[in-house]
């Protein structure tokens, strides 16, 4: 990336490049750590070889079939959530916007639960991700309709809580009415979020949708910059606001929904990552999108590593840990923003 010569040095651009490099290095290191960590002791070198199918057959099976899917899913889910958070915050011009806080993740869980409850997966293999993505789309669409009517931050966050509440109520209803104990435990799992014991099948299901979602979200960049001035000013600068909304809604639904379909609900990644990275990129919304994808992947991977390292006996669920850390963070943000919210 070259920076045009300027009368004003664009320090934020240099910082953004450094940030991207740093996050990429961290991601690669963490992925290596993640595939190295497990009950069976395999050296890092052997793990690296096993990733590409070289070396001891047993090591190859453990790494490729057990550890790699888990690692890749954490990266994919985190990248999807980080990107969704960055774009939703830019679109709604609201630092509290995030798939979890706004009820998009819970709504996606509801979509997945409906599929499980009616056993639709048996009839149609992609029913689960599609159900989750539709659930996410409904929530994102409703929120956007509200945001388009110029409601404040408070209304938006409360609406998210309402969407979340309704989704949880309907999920509980499904659990309540289900006569099948397997379905009940399966549903409970969605609410906690985890990437444990996954196979490449899940990676194959989620990866294309999450990748497409991130791509759609990344295209919004410049328009998000224009929106920093408000919708009228953005329009007067030639921004097609309707197109941006559509990209953001479809992109968030794909990236968040597909993630929920394979990993359940993992909250607050999309809230924390853009918030922490925003000052580094100079608060420029377009420059926040890709670092948030990397940052989301890094944070989710760190959380999943923590889950594995902290757990004794029963493993802590990934979504439980991110909520335990994310909720105080959310509360801290509310306190910091309380003057703006009134």
């Amino acid at each position: 990336m070259t920076v045009a010569p300027s009368f004003h040095p664009d320090r934020a651009a240099a910082r953004t490049v450094l940030l991207m490099v740093g996050l990429t290095v961290a991601l690669v290191v963490l992925m290596l750590v993640s595939v190295s960590l497990g009950y069976t002791g395999i050296s890092v070198v052997d793990v690296a070889r096993a990733v590409f199918g070289i070396g001891d057959e047993k090591a190859v099976i453990i790494v490729q079939q057990l550890r790699l899917p888990r690692t890749l899913l954490a990266v994919l889910i985190g990248a999807g959530l980080g990107t969704s958070g960055a774009v939703l915050q830019g679109l709604l011009r609201n630092p509290l916007a995030e798939p979890g806080v706004l009820g998009v993740s819970t709504s996606a869980s509801l979509g997945a639960v409906v599929v499980i409850y009616f056993s639709l997966s048996a009839a149609f293999p992609l029913a689960l991700p599609i159900g989750a993505m539709l659930g996410a789309a409904v929530a994102t669409g409703v929120l956007y309709l509200l945001a388009a009517r110029q409601v404040g931050t408070l209304t938006l966050v409360l609406s998210g809580a309402a969407i979340s509440g309704l989704s949880i109520a309907l999920i509980s209803l499904a659990m309540n009415m289900s006569s099948n104990p397997w379905a009940i435990s399966e549903i409970a799992f969605w609410l906690m979020g985890s990437v444990r014991d996954r196979t490449f099948h899940e990676v194959q299901i989620a990866a294309p949708f999450i990748a497409l979602g991130i791509l759609l979200l990344a295209v919004t960049g410049r328009a998000l910059d224009g929106l920093a001035l408000g919708e009228d000013a953005a329009r007067s600068l030639g921004v097609d606001v309707t197109r941006v909304r559509l990209l953001a809604i479809v992109g968030t639904s794909l990236a968040t929904g597909a993630g929920v379909a394979v990993g359940g609900s993992v909250g607050f990644i999309g809230l924390m990552v853009p918030h922490l990275l925003r000052p580094v990129v100079g608060y420029i919304p377009s420059r926040l999108v890709l670092p948030s994808a990397l940052g989301g992947a890094v944070l989710t991977l760190v959380a999943d590593l923590a889950v594995r390292l902290l757990s004794r006996g029963t493993e802590l669920h990934l979504g439980v840990l991110t909520s335990l850390i994310g909720t105080p963070f959310f509360f801290f943000l509310i306190l910091r923003l309380r003057r703006q919210m009134q």
């Binding site: 045009a4 009368f7 664009d10 001035l229 408000g230 007067s236 030639g238 921004v239 608060y283 420029i284």
Partner: protein
């Protein structure tokens, strides 16, 4: 040479007619003040001129081309718009904030060119904000912020600049400064149309005033003619204090008038 022509323009908000058959024409080099009481349709007119609202009747032409026929980007490169209130949702560095004005000139994913850089610099010089380039937008005072937002609109380098209450909520010093800036911009060959509430400022700095009343142009012409007592009474229900200072005529809104059967009366002192 740029010419903005508005012909029999009608604009409705929620099916309620707000602008009702308004016509006027203006050219580059002019500073036109759009004045009138609250709710007569000034902001709606400005928003229609930037194609933010579609008119329900009439035409808006720039050099003979209806603005609806221009592409999004072509329109953005023709008319810059400085909205009321000057919202800024993230604390961007001032340089980056002004650089947003170059959005209509950038092709997707391309980085700003030397020409963009030059335009940003020119805009910041004209609005006298170059010294704030590295400051965070949320650290600016009201007057500094108004000029930075003006620089953002100037950086688009359009032949036409529309501003909605650019001097509102500023102290007198900064009001004068913003009006001087807008006048200077028009002198350098752009058409500036601004919604204004401060009549003495509008009269002093604008070349022309368009006085709106109930969605129509009640008067259009030199400030002295437009602000004559009859128009002032009809449009604002106020009487003016007319005077002359440093070889310039001025008018101050002086007292409220009230409607009676035949016309307007001065509101009696005891009612004040």
């Amino acid at each position: 040479m740029t010419r903005l022509v508005v012909e029999d323009l009608e604009v409705s908000l929620d099916r309620r007619p707000v602008v009702k058959g308004l016509s006027f024409a203006a050219e580059d080099g002019e500073f036109v003040g759009l004045i009138g009481a609250n709710g007569v349709g000034k902001s709606t007119l400005i928003r229609a001129l930037t194609n933010l609202i579609a008119p329900s009747g009439g035409r808006i032409l720039v050099d003979g081309t209806p603005i609806g026929a221009l592409s999004r980007k072509a329109l953005a490169r023709t008319i810059a718009y400085l909205p009321q209130g000057q919202a800024m949702h993230w604390p961007l560095e001032v340089y980056h904030l002004v650089a947003l004005g170059r959005l209509p000139h950038l092709s997707p994913f391309a980085r700003p060119s030397a020409e963009d850089e030059a335009a940003i610099r020119r805009a910041m010089e004209q609005a006298d904000v170059l010294q704030y380039a590295g400051r965070s937008a949320d650290s600016l005072s009201g007057g500094e912020r108004a000029r930075v937002m003006l620089a953002r609109a100037l950086a688009v380098e359009t032949p036409i600049l529309l501003a909605d209450e650019p001097a509102a909520s500023l102290d007198p010093y900064h009001q004068l400064q913003v009006m001087e800036l807008l006048q200077g911009i028009s002198r350098r060959g752009r058409l500036v149309v601004a919604v204004l509430h401060d009549l003495p400022l509008a009269a002093r700095f604008c070349d022309r005033l368009v006085l709106m009343s109930d969605g129509e142009a009640l008067a259009d012409g030199a400030p002295g003619e437009v602000l004559e007592p009859g128009n002032l009474g009809a449009a604002y229900q106020v009487g003016g204090y007319y005077g002359r200072h440093e070889a310039e005529d001025f008018v101050l809104p002086w007292r409220r008038l009230r409607l009676n059967g035949e016309g307007l009366d001065v509101v009696a002192d005891q009612e004040r």
